[in-house]
């Protein structure tokens, strides 16, 4: 009896005592490793099987599982340490570089946007503290953060009179501002505006990526929710193989956990609640709407995933 066993070091023919009698080296190492990983035949294995159709194939294949455990263990003992180390490092290095896919950009952009929101918020609050005493009316009336930064710059560059009128005041009770103070606040405010602009650029880029690489998800969920779903699941692949009931709750992990542990109310939806098809509905209809949207997203994710990977 002869055995055919492929490991990282080549495709080996073994005798009845499980000793290697001959070895075919892989012509194309990377392709061979891919084939072995996915349970397909390498060219070397095909050739060995042609030469000897009786030979017992040891490696797991889709249509072939080697059942005799004792023999199999004696056979895999043939993998030598120095080969195992060198080849495995090479495979892992290429797996690592291949693992960086477009999902990575989406996931990192979503996180970067969240970080930037936090930072911008903090920076703007600081601006309000800093400039507030000189123009309290602006700080009080303009609650939108970005608008406040823009108008502060305007006031610092062109004076406050016009703005003051527009806000409905004749006179300010703010303190008089010195030139150096105005300069310092102005350059600080410009940094913040720069952040707002960069954030817009990032969002536009994200939208482009979503439209190009995840067109069906983008259409059903919108680019922002779609991207956050991918980030929350960890990858497009995970969404594609996930039941739609899980998609429905992505982003609600905390509430779900609470429910399972302490029996609080079951969450009806996760971050898809921000979608117009749910947010616009009455509370009582939201559960159903969420289920429907999650179903659609599930189909969209499969189309997007299998479209490129097959």
């Amino acid at each position: 009896m002869q055995y055919l066993y492929s490991n990282v070091n080549g495709c080996h023919v073994l005798d009845g005592k499980f000793k290697i009698v001959s070895t075919l080296e892989f012509k194309n190492f990377d392709d061979a490793m891919d084939a072995l990983k996915s349970g397909e035949y390498t060219p070397e294995e095909k050739k060995a099987l042609e030469d000897n159709p009786e030979i017992m194939l040891v490696n797991p294949k889709k249509d072939n599982v080697f059942r005799d455990g004792d023999k199999r263990l004696k056979i895999i003992a043939n993998l030598e340490k120095k080969h195992a180390i060198a080849a495995n490092k090479r495979i892992t290095a290429s797996d690592l570089s291949a693992s960086v896919i477009i999902d990575h950009t989406v996931i990192q952009t979503v996180s970067a946007l969240e970080e930037m929101d936090k930072i911008i918020n903090g920076l703007t609050k600081r601006l309000r503290e800093w400039y507030g005493p000189y123009f309290p009316e602006l700080c009080e009336k303009i609650t939108d953060h970005q608008k406040y930064v823009e108008l502060s710059i305007n006031a610092l560059e062109n004076g406050i009179d016009k703005l003051l009128k527009e806000l409905g005041y004749e006179q300010t009770f703010g303190a008089e501002i010195s030139e150096p103070a105005a300069q310092a606040i102005l350059s600080y405010a410009k940094i913040i505006i720069g952040f707002y602009d960069e954030r817009e650029v990032m969002k536009k880029n994200l939208e482009k990526i979503m439209k190009k690489h995840y067109p069906h998800i983008e259409k059903t969920a919108g680019y922002s929710i779609g991207a956050r779903l991918i980030a929350s699941a960890g990858s497009l692949r995970k969404i594609a193989i996930m039941p739609s009931s899980t998609i429905q709750l992505l982003g609600a992990e905390k509430a779900l956990f609470r429910h399972l542990v302490s029996g609080s109310r079951v969450p009806k939806h996760g971050l898809i609640v921000n979608h117009t098809s749910i947010a616009d509905k009455k509370r009582s209809e939201r559960g159903k709407a969420a289920r429907m949207l999650a179903n659609k997203i599930s189909i969209a994710a499969r189309v997007d995933y299998y479209r490129v990977s097959k």
Binding site: M33, N59, P60, A77, N88, V261
Partner: protein, 214 residues
């Protein structure tokens, strides 16, 4: 085990590779060399040993380690088995395999493999015969994963250790109920040598130490 010192509630492993810490651990000079202190709150293997489990991990052993993560526990096993041993360190998360990769540059008895432990057929051609398997993957089907890999790679009468986190199997059930159920499956397929809860080092975790039957 050689090169391991257990002293009340602390545990050290003699450094084989070098005395510079890999994980900011303390390194003490003792009579016969440098010893790395091992934190039982970061390593389930260390916790198990402090709870009295006595795994037989020999110098020169071949180890299959599933769920290697950044390699904290692996690095101690690497010192225990010494330069003649070998660890196949498997994890499926690219971010941690990147760290493992650099750890393996220094620890030449460790091999980083990015693979899914629930699909041992995908790395069958990359792993040789093993004496010992350690698994800590925090997955729902972790018992099943363990038994598959034990069957596939561990020699007859080889040893295995499985860390179970009850919450990853079922967070709504009592940990003890989950552990008992795992124990029944494990006892039906292997010879159970030891079983311990890992408190106070880990909450809701237990460890099974088994021998492969055939």
């Amino acid at each position: 085990m050689q090169n391991v010192i257990i002293d009340k509630k602390r545990i050290w492993v003699k450094a084989v590779y070098d005395k510079n810490p890999d994980f900011d651990e303390n390194v003490d000079k003792k009579m016969d060399g440098f010893y790395r202190s091992w934190d039982a709150r970061r390593s389930k293997l260390a916790a198990a040993m402090l709870k009295g489990v006595e795994p037989k991990i020999d110098k020169g052993a071949n180890i299959l380690y599933l769920g290697a993560s950044h390699g904290y526990t692996c690095s101690y096993v690497s010192d225990i088995i010494g330069k003649s041993g070998l660890i196949y360190a498997i994890d499926f998360a690219p971010r941690v395999v990147r760290d493992l990769w650099f750890l393996c540059e220094k620890r030449k008895n460790m091999i980083p493999i990015m693979g899914d432990a629930s699909q041992p057929q995908t790395y069958f051609h990359r792993v040789g015969l093993c004496d010992f398997i350690f698994q800590d993957v925090a997955q729902k089907n972790q018992v099943d994963i363990f038994l598959k890999n034990l069957d596939m790679f561990v020699k007859p009468n080889g040893l295995g250790m499985l860390a179970i986190k009850s919450r990853s199997i079922d967070i709504s059930r009592k940990p003890q109920a989950v552990f008992n159920e795992c124990r029944n499956v494990i006892e039906s397929k292997t010879k159970l040598i030891d079983y311990k809860l890992l408190s106070p080092y880990e909450k809701d975790h237990c460890i099974f130490y088994v021998q492969k039957t055939q």
